[in-house]
């Protein structure tokens, strides 16, 4: 049975393992620092489809199928599928994954979806509700731009604080296995906002939520940044990352170079002109599946706090002058099933 640690953290007893994972990206992602680590790269951003929305769905399907084949499993082996994306009515997930025929639950957590899906998938396995479960998510630059910002060919300029939506998808299969990486504990975040209204500065909007969840987890588990090899946030970008470090320091935790952000790993922000860094559900998902998990499996990284962050606004809420609510869910991944992470 899972146990509660402190007020907010849920500690797994069976510690589900990540059996298979896959990352899919497009050309810009392939040109980035971790381009060679992707399982599948399509230089055609349409993925052979006729619209950007269908292309995003296709990315999810390809990622899910690749994760299944890497784990030598078929869709019938998966008891529950959690997936989401940034589009209205999460259509990329519904259209992309419908052919798999796996019992499905759609999620919307904006860019926090990978953490959200992974937490739910792990809980289902831990609780015995599913033998194996899967979490999938994606984002597509073109479908996100046309829904949230301007048409692709519009010659508007971006402020330096703006981020670049990744065209990427990631899929993770969770089940019981004696091989790492394991989900050790999770900390579900609360919605937090500090009156940031700038749609072009989402890192700033999400940083307080990230600091809130991370602080709660440290307090609950009586650990600190030094107990972990890396604290990997989803897409805070450069500005959000700076603010997270400042907020944590205010609360007495020095991140001391332990913090890394998927948005700054996926793209070279200067050379690839991605503003303050990458963003989107696919950003955290792809960096998790292409970069982090293979390194954990190889034993190069052992204790990780993976925390995808989301900005939960819509174009309507922003136009109506509302501030941007943020959220961050934390997953403690480890190469060990038990024992306290030691201070390094």
């Amino acid at each position: 049975m899972p146990t509660h640690t402190g007020n907010y953290t849920i500690t797994m007893e069976r510690c589900p393992s990540l059996l298979g994972f896959a990352a899919v990206g497009s050309k810009k992602e392939a040109d980035g620092p971790i381009g060679n680590n992707f399982d599948i790269i399509s230089s055609d951003a349409l993925f052979g489809q006729k619209s950007w929305e269908l292309a995003e769905g296709q990315m999810q399907k390809v990622a899910a199928e690749k994760a299944l084949s890497k784990a030598s499993l078929s869709p019938g082996d998966i008891g529950m599928l959690f997936a989401g994306d940034l589009l209205n009515q999460i259509t990329a997930s519904h259209y992309g994954l419908r052919e798999l025929g796996i019992p499905f639950m759609g999620l919307y957590g904006a860019c926090s979806t990978m953490s959200q899906g992974l937490i739910l998938a792990a809980m289902m396995v831990e609780g015995g509700f599913a033998g194996k479960s899967m979490a999938v998510t994606s984002s597509h630059f073109c479908s996100a731009e046309r829904q949230y910002r301007f048409p692709l060919e519009y010659g508007g300029t971006r402020t330096p604080t703006a981020q670049w939506t990744a065209t990427a998808a990631g899929a993770v299969i969770v089940g019981e296995s004696p091989s790492p990486p394991y989900v050790r504990s999770v900390c579900i975040g609360s919605i937090e906002n500090k009156d940031v209204k700038d749609l072009s500065n989402m890192g700033a909007a999400m940083a307080p939520a990230a600091a809130l969840t991370l602080g709660r987890f440290f307090k609950d588990t009586c650990t600190g940044p030094d107990n972990y090899d890396v604290i990997l946030t989803g897409d805070l970008g450069e500005i959000g990352g700076t603010l997270l470090a400042q907020l944590m320091e205010r609360d007495g935790y020095k991140l001391n170079g332990k913090h890394a952000d998927c948005g700054l790993i996926l793209f070279d922000k200067e050379a690839q002109d991605t503003g303050a860094g990458g963003s989107g559900c696919g950003c955290a998902a792809a960096v998790l599946c292409a970069y982090l998990l293979p390194r954990m499996r190889a034993g190069k990284i052992n204790e990780v706090l993976f925390m995808a962050t989301g900005a939960l606004m819509s174009p309507t809420s922003v136009q109506q002058g509302q501030d941007i609510p943020g959220i961050a869910h934390l997953v403690h991944l480890s190469t060990k099933k038990s024992g306290r992470p030691e201070v390094s």
Binding site: L152, G155, T157
Partner: protein, 148 residues
């Protein structure tokens, strides 16, 4: 986190967020905007040389710029120029043409009526609405002042 006020956080955000690179952006906007306007004058002179009257040559120059902007938008070049040109490519008539052509291209996938037709003015629409509205207001003022 508990004792952090919104105002204090807003200050932190301001400090952490880099400002726009005005030292580079403003001269680039001047250069691109100036070049577009010079190109417009080149067209006007060309039309005059071809025998068009002033009254026709000026609008014909604008039409030539609009054509060029829409063509470059269709070829996927205009937004790349705009990344360097900034305000310089946004303000002249070419920016307006781009703002109409870009959504027309983008939303074609939702059909010609509810996609292309309806969304074509999603960026430029407000400019047209408030341009016409202010035109009417100024027209009335000028009429009342007896200028005509």
């Amino acid at each position: 986190m508990e004792n952090l006020t919104n105002q204090a956080y807003t200050e932190m955000v301001k400090k952490a967020s880099p400002p726009s690179k005005s030292a580079k952006n403003i001269p680039m906007a001047f250069l691109f905007g100036g070049l577009i306007c010079a190109l417009g004058h080149f067209f006007i002179q060309m039309f005059k040389q071809a025998g068009l009257s002033d009254e026709i040559a000026f609008p014909a120059g604008s039409i030539a710029l609009i054509f060029l902007a829409v063509l470059l938008t269709g070829l996927g070049v205009y937004d790349k120029l705009a990344r360097h040109g900034g305000g310089g490519t946004l303000v002249p008539i070419t920016g307006f043409a781009n703002a109409i052509a870009a959504p027309a291209l983008e939303f074609k996938s939702e059909g010609y009526v509810l996609g292309l037709g309806a969304k074509m003015f999603s960026v430029a629409g407000p400019v047209i609405v408030y341009g016409v509205a202010s035109g009417i207001i100024y027209g009335v003022i000028i009429y009342l002042m007896g200028a005509y």
